[in-house]
Symmetry: C2
Subunit: 152 residues, 2 copies
DNA sequence: TATTGTTATACTCTATAACTATA
DNA sequence: TATAGTTATAGAGTATAACAATA
């Protein structure tokens, strides 16, 4: 081990978080949308049609990047572009029925994989993870606010 | 919310894990190596020179994919290829001093970002996260073994 | 024959710069 | 002028198929 030995909380969290992240990326097979695409489908499903610019900001990809992603999703019939009646420069992106179904399938698949992993864990470990979820969620929120507050 | 409301442990973990994963990907700026590259640099730093095939298996990328990654890392002077004296088909990849330094800088940067996030958390939440780390590590391990056992 | 690694090729995802149309 | 979105182009990252050299 050549790394500065971890005493700070961040140093302790880092290796575990890295492993979990790598895991998540592995579950993401070619049959399921990328994490950014999933975030877009989720937002459109939960909150209705949205602007390209807003989706780009939400997922922190560039505006052209979002145009391109929407193009791929539209080609796959997962979303649809409709003109924005209030601003003729813009478009509204809305999720299709196929998009909603894929989002659902993705969610079920991921949850099933995670459930399988929990089955390998002792009851104590399972409980410890579940009990920490609210704190972990707030940690994630702190991270999301880290840049969106100061920057932009 | 159109998603099947989560009662299983996997369903509860999924949204939190997704947010943490997205966060990790955001911290990974263009100034730092990708997660696969980081895993390679870490392995070479911790355990000495390694074969392309072993690095590919470790990180679960294809053998050509690893050849290409090593090519990019070598061009950036982060690793170096040396002939394997024991098997003339193979090469040994070893990390350079610049590679070690970058790995260290990456580690420090990530840990610092996570520390910043912890500072936004209440002491109770911080403790809850830290206490859950061993269980989370075992969960990650269960995931890593999920495919490596049965498959391959 | 099997294994190690590479080359050839293609596809996804993402970025920056330059552009068009509307406000 | 500023904003919304697109097009053009380039690069990282990854895969499969075909190949060369060695075991």
């Amino acid at each position: 081990m050549q790394i500065p030995e971890g005493e700070s909380r961040g140093s302790q969290l880092l290796p575990v978080l890295s492993r979990l992240g790598r895991l998540l990326r592995e579950i993401e097979g070619p049959d399921y949308p990328s994490s950014v695409a999933t975030a877009v489908l989720r937002k459109l499903t939960d909150e209705g049609p949205g602007r390209v610019t807003d989706l780009a900001r939400l997922t922190r990809v560039s505006q052209p990047g979002m145009t391109q992603l929407i193009g791929r999703l539209e080609k796959a019939d997962l979303v649809r572009r409709v003109p924005d009646p209030d601003d003729r420069r813009g478009v509204l992106v809305e999720v299709t029925e196929a998009g909603r179904k894929l989002l659902n399938r993705t969610y079920v698949h991921y949850a099933a994989v995670l459930d399988e992993m929990f089955e390998q864990l002792s009851p104590d470990d399972s409980d410890a993870v579940i009990r920490a979820l609210p704190a972990l969620a707030r940690l994630a929120q702190a991270g999301e606010e880290r840049r969106s507050g100061p920057a932009r």
